[in-house]
Each structure stands twice: as C-alpha cells, then as structure tokens.
C-alpha cells in the first residue's frame, strides 16, 4: 500500500514538473506521455518484450545451472575451491558493456551471446549464496549422517542441498532482478530485436517517450521475474514459516 502511494507521489511530481515546463519533454517525457507511447507503439514493443524475456529467462536458467554446478564443485573439492574462487569473483569485475561487443564478435548476432552475457551477470549471486548455504547445514545433522556412515553424495543430497535451498533462492532472486541488465548490454552490442535494441533505436530517433516506455517494460520484466522466483521459493521451501507477505 505504501509502495503504491510512494510511486503515485513520485509520478505525480514528475508529471507536474514536465507539465509546468520545468524540463524539455524531448529530454524527459511525462509519465502520461510514456504511457501513451507504450500504447501507441505496442505492436512495435511487444515482440521486443518477448525477445528480451526469452533471452533473460534462458540466461537465468543457464546461470542457475552453472551457479549450482560451480557451488557444488567448490563445496566438495578444496582444490576446485581454491582454483575457482578467484575466477568467480574476478568475473564480476569484468565490465559487461566492454566485453559485450567482443562476445558478439565471437558468437555472432544470435541468441547465444545474449544468454552468455545474462548468465555472466546472474551466476555470481547464485553461486556465492548456494555455496554459503551448503556450508551452513546444521552440524548436528552432519554428525548424524556421519554416524550412519552416509556417503559424501548422500550427505549432500539428504542434508546439505535441502539446507542450502533458502540461500540458493536468495541468490536466484538477486540474479532475477539484475538479469535484464545483461540482456540490454548484449542487445546494445548487436541485435535486431529486444527492448535494449528498441531503447537504442528510440534514442537515435529522439523518440524519448518510446525509450522510456521500453525502460518501463524492462522495469516490469525485472519485477515479474523476481516475483516468479519468490513464488517458486514459496512452493519449494515450504518448511520455513514466514511472517508478513514479503516479495516486491
């Protein structure tokens, strides 16, 4: 409720600022103009939204698979942990706008570079949260499994992996929120479709309202992805009693 109120206040202020002539609408369109552009250019923007959604969901999926693999590998093998940790952390220092054109150069204009760049942005929070979660399993439960002569694999499957699920979902939700950034940079570096591409074209044509409309769709896409992950979390991690409603 307060979130809606805050948003409405912000939008009303913005609308007033533009209408009262505080800024040039070519630089900053009013919220109403953005909504207008969204409606008028819907036939133009809908396929872009679909393309970007597709890229982001696939990239997020690839990041989840890679992140899970890396976290489990680092958890099980001290040697791999030592070898991979600097690479995993260092990967986050790579500026995506700089590396995006290189990736496009190597992988072409297709879907592959988009998935790769989304995954590059997303795998880090998933890997780190899952890795920490795997280590945080109840020591008494571990002791119990050891006393039952459980194999390493059984300890992982029966105790550590379920115990790490809440942390893994935290990582996934963070990843879902930032995933669109990767897709936009990838599209900027070379694409024929997608919201990032639409944003770039609209900017070039001085269609500021349409550029804002595309941004609004990116904004909503991030929220929808986060919401979907939060929903999935509630279904999967159903043993933790929750207080309040949570989510965005």
């Amino acid at each position: 409720m307060t979130a809606v109120l805050a948003l409405l206040t912000l939008l009303a202020g913005w609308e007033a600022l533009v209408r009262l002539g505080g800024v040039d609408p070519l630089l900053l369109p009013s919220p109403m103009q953005v909504l207008e552009a969204l409606w008028e250019d819907r036939a133009l923007l809908a396929p872009d939204l679909w393309t970007t959604t597709y890229e982001v969901v696939l990239g997020l999926g690839a990041a989840a698979a890679t992140g899970a693999g890396l976290a489990v590998a680092m958890h099980l093998s001290p040697a791999l942990r030592g070898a991979l940790r600097p690479l995993v952390i260092g990967s986050q220092a790579v500026p995506v706008p700089v590396i995006a054109p290189l990736v496009i150069l190597v992988l072409g204009f297709g879907l592959a570079p988009k998935i790769l760049l989304v995954a590059l942005v997303c795998f880090f929070p998933i890997t780190i949260n899952l890795y920490d979660g795997l280590r945080a399993a109840d020591p008494e439960a571990r002791r119990l499994l050891r006393s039952l002569q459980a194999t390493r694999w059984q300890a992982l499957r029966l105790v550590e992996a379920p115990a790490a699920l809440p942390a893994a979902f935290t990582g996934l939700k963070v990843a879902a929120a930032v995933a669109v950034i990767g897709a936009v940079f990838a599209e900027w570096a070379g694409a024929e479709a997608g919201l990032g591409h639409a944003l770039l074209t609209a900017n070039g044509q001085l269609e500021t309202a349409r550029a804002f409309a595309a941004t609004l769709l990116l904004f909503l896409l991030a929220i929808a992805l986060y919401g979907a992950c939060a929903l999935l979390e509630r279904r999967v991690v159903d043993w933790i009693p929750r207080t309040g409603t949570g989510g965005p």
């Binding site: 039952l148 029966l158 699920l165 043993w239």
Partner: protein, 251 residues
C-alpha cells in the same frame, strides 16, 4: 507414579550384538584434554548412563563409540552404534515419517520402503496421525520420539543417546523418561545414555558412571539394582541420586 503400565525388566537382558568396552581412553582437542584414562564397559543389553557436569567429555565419549573420532590413548571396542545427537537434529524439510526413516534411506532403502518400516512403529511411539507433520509443528516430546525412532531404525545393537531430553520442560521430561524406559523394555539394546541429570540416570540405567569435570575421568560407578518401573520417590532411587551427587561433589 508407579501405576505406569510398563514391562518390569530386572537383571541383564538377552540381546544379540556387541557391548561396549573402553580401556584407559584419552582424547584431546588441541591443548584441551577432553577425556583421561576412561575405562568403562556396557554388556550387551545393558543401559549405562554417563553423568557429569557440562564439558566433562560425555559427548566426546559417544563420538568415540560411534566411530566419529579416534582415541589418542587406550582402546575403544564397540558394536555398531547409532547416535541420537543433542537437540534432535531432525531435518526440518522432511516429514516426521521421513525423518524417522532417514537411517533406512542412508542404508539404501527406497523412500517407500523406509516409510513403510517407520510407519509400522508410529502407533507404538504415540505418533499416529503425525506422519506428514514437519518437525516445526511437533511438540518437543514428539520430536524426541521421532528422533529416537530414527535411532532405533538404524538397526544397530548399540544406541548412543546424547542428552536426549536436555531441551524439554520438566514435565515433558518426566513423561519422556517413563516412555523411554518402556520403549527400551520392549526393544532392548545396549544403551549409552549421556545426561547431566543424575536423577534421570538413576531412573533409566542399570549402571551410572559418574565423570569428573574436564578432563573427564570416571570418579564412581553406581549399580542401580532397583526393579523397574522406577519412580523418582522410590527410597532406593532417592538414595542413589544422593550418593551420585556426593560423588560428584555437589552436596
């Protein structure tokens, strides 16, 4: 208090499987000596309580018997042992039924097999109707019963119970002590029961081994030759409890 319907069991019980023997066992963790020269025995089917102050190495002793850690000095010989850790260590994402059958799953049983085997005991354990309940929704006493069933279903001749009722309120604790006495009468095993409660030790055990503060060593062993079921206010129980407290230097 003596009206409880329990099978009275006197004297050594006939159980297949091994006992437990510790000979002059010592164990240190870095500079901390946890145990020093501990010698004790539990015959097959015997219930031996290990009582002593906090940090006297009681839990370490159970780890040695369960093979979770090795002794620095002396010898440990024990039959295959199942551990019931302090705090029940139930897995919060598993149902009561799946928690009870965990040892069977680890031993290679399918989920359905483990559930069927565990379910056969649910009524006797007073858990009927709670098969699907998650640990968070169970009372403290029920959680302990699930944890004990899990320990029992490991199918090992020796049970190592680490302060099984330490986290329970006084009333539930009394009920659970009586319940455990009954359960062990029905399913006799060799039991090492770690507790800091001398009364609990006297109520449940055939023998009470009293340990000193760190480094833990045996200060006295009391034979509890009192017929079961026992009550807190039995003269013999009260007397033994006092003797134990004197031996521990508490009164």
């Amino acid at each position: 208090m003596q009206t409880e319907a329990e099978t009275p069991v006197v004297g050594p019980r006939d159980v297949d499987g091994a006992g437990v023997e510790l000979d002059a066992v010592g164990k240190s963790y870095g500079a901390v000596r946890a145990l020093r020269g501990v010698t004790l025995r539990a015959a097959p089917g015997e219930i031996v309580a290990l009582a002593g102050p906090s940090g006297c190495g009681k839990s370490t002793l159970l780890e040695l018997v369960c093979g979770l850690t090795a002794a620095d000095e002396g010898h440990v010989r024990a039959g295959a042992a199942a551990l019931m850790p302090q705090r029940d260590a139930l897995l919060p994402w598993l149902s009561a039924l799946d928690n009870a059958g965990l040892a069977l799953r680890v031993a290679g049983a399918s989920r359905a097999q483990a559930r069927a085997t565990a379910h056969a005991h649910f009524a006797a354990f007073g858990l009927d109707g709670f098969e699907r309940a998650r640990p968070a929704t169970l009372s403290g006493g029920m959680r302990q019963r699930v944890a004990f069933l899990r320990t029992l279903l490991a199918g090992r001749p020796v049970l190592c119970l680490d302060e099984p009722f330490g986290a329970l309120d006084a009333l539930t604790r009394l009920q659970m002590q009586r319940w455990l006495a009954g359960a062990l009468a029905r399913e006799p095993r060799t039991v090492l029961l770690v507790t800091h409660d001398v009364e609990e030790a006297v109520l449940l055990a055939d023998r009470v081994v009293l340990l000193s503060p760190r480094p833990g060593r045996v200060v006295a062993t009391l034979d509890v030759a009192v017929a079961r079921p026992r009550a807190r206010d039995d003269r013999a129980v009260v007397e033994l409890r006092e003797r134990a407290l004197v031996a521990l230097g508490a009164s």
